[in-house]
């Protein structure tokens, strides 16, 4: 899934999926967000502000479907 384009249903591009964020808890980690876009890439290399302080992710609940070359999210989804 990493590297795929993230777009809304109406075709608006949000960026590329850089990573997946998961919450630790009982059982396995549950994915709660996709790290998207340029901000995500820099932080991926550990440079700049610590993760979570700037908007860099799209919530998992917003994902509508996964196609071969892109990930489609609901209209109106923003990077938070």
């Amino acid at each position: 899934m990493l590297g795929r384009l993230v777009e809304t249903e109406s075709g608006r591009r949000l960026g590329r999926c850089r990573d997946m964020r998961a919450a630790l808890g009982s059982g396995g980690p549950k994915v709660n967000a996709l790290v998207v876009g340029r901000r995500g890439r820099l932080e991926h290399f550990g440079i700049g502000t610590p993760k979570g302080q700037t908007p860099d992710a799209v919530p998992w609940e917003a994902v509508v479907r996964i196609e071969r070359d892109r990930i489609v999210v609901r209209d109106g989804t923003e990077i938070v």
Binding site: D19, R21, A22, L24, V35, H44, V63
Partner: protein, 116 residues
């Protein structure tokens, strides 16, 4: 932020340490279960040359073939903690890891001084 990890950043390609702190491979891939609209859960860590096939195109497939194509699946329950390494709850042999080292060791033991 509550306890959360970035799967690519904090897990993928990280060193695996078994319960005795032996190095026993890297996190070569992750097994997720679920899909859009439902829960997506990380259920296992995948390890071994066979897992590289999907990760580096042609060279990955060549490397997988060279390495013997084994795949090892480590259920998430066997993960003790995730820090700069991924610490496992069991010993490598119990999980099917580090087999290369175990197979080579008997030959080295025949040579004097292999424990120095």
């Amino acid at each position: 932020m509550t306890d959360s990890i970035d799967l690519g950043l904090n897990l993928l390609d990280h060193q695996l340490l078994d319960a005795e702190n032996r190095r026993c491979g890297k996190v070569d891939d992750l097994a997720l279960e679920g899909g859009p609209g439902e829960e997506l859960e990380l259920v296992a860590i995948l390890c071994g040359p066979g897992v590289w096939r999907g990760r580096a195109g042609l060279i990955g497939r060549a490397a997988a073939w060279l390495g013997g194509g084994r795949r090892v699946r480590i259920p998430w329950d066997d993960v003790a903690e995730v820090g700069s390494h991924v610490k496992l709850r069991k010993r490598a042999a119990e999980l099917g890891l580090g087999r290369g080292d175990d197979r080579v060791r008997p030959y080295l033991d025949k040579i004097p001084g292999s424990d120095r």
